[in-house]
Symmetry: C2
Subunit: 148 residues, 2 copies
Amino acid sequence: MSDLHGECPLCQSTGGLLVATGAHWRVIRAEDPAFPAFYRVVWTDHVAEFSSLSVSARAECMSVVCAIEQVLLRVLRPTKVNLAALGNVVPHLHWHVIARFDGDSHFPQPIWGEAKRHVDSAVAMLAVTLAELDREVAKAVGDLSLDD
Amino acid sequence: MSDLHGECPLCQSTGGLLVATGAHWRVIRAEDPAFPAFYRVVWTDHVAEFSSLSVSARAECMSVVCAIEQVLLRVLRPTKVNLAALGNVVPHLHWHVIARFDGDSHFPQPIWGEAKRHVDSAVAMLAVTLAELDREVAKAVGDLSLDD
């Protein structure tokens, strides 16, 4: 029943490292060296705007976003978590969930803003390995998949 | 019962042009000349992260965000709507809801990125006046306030 578009990169490919899959969404890690703890919740159907989802689908989508945010807060203790659904380049609903640290290259700027400082190894700021973090994220959102 | 912090600018002041007020939130317009159709949903309590809200509060918050998004889509027919909860500078939950147009100064970059072009009058891209847009937004979110 999914509504896919032939020319949309998020309909055609995973879009990042696949971490978890639900009935209506997938979680990928963006693999951005400057922001290693950067996940995306990609809605399976090709929908541009969040408000185009039904109320129950919005709730499901944000429950996944919040589960990731809670893992990032608990495991990494970041300065802040940033959430965004932009889609100007790829208008297929995907939520960015990004752990930010006050020593990261752009803080307090959004990651799309101007760099504030050079950082040799952003991944060194993380309390756990990315493989461990992926497992925690997968576990947290996997519990949500059971409701599907 | 609201939890306010003395040094937080969003606890101390409105933070923009007040458009509507609910029991747990307010809607302001950011008054950004480059992005005139730019609203913010400010949660009244001083909470940093979206996932710190209860499930019902998250739903209420996103219903306000979605009501604004739907007004922007219907009235302005923008190229895209951008949603974001960042809070790196002011860690008090506020959602950005921004109508984007492919001729705006930054498109397809996020508004926090590098400008792509000079635009004389961004407000001239809007199909209605800002006063009319504010009235449509207030009406849309006002219906939600009735549920409080």
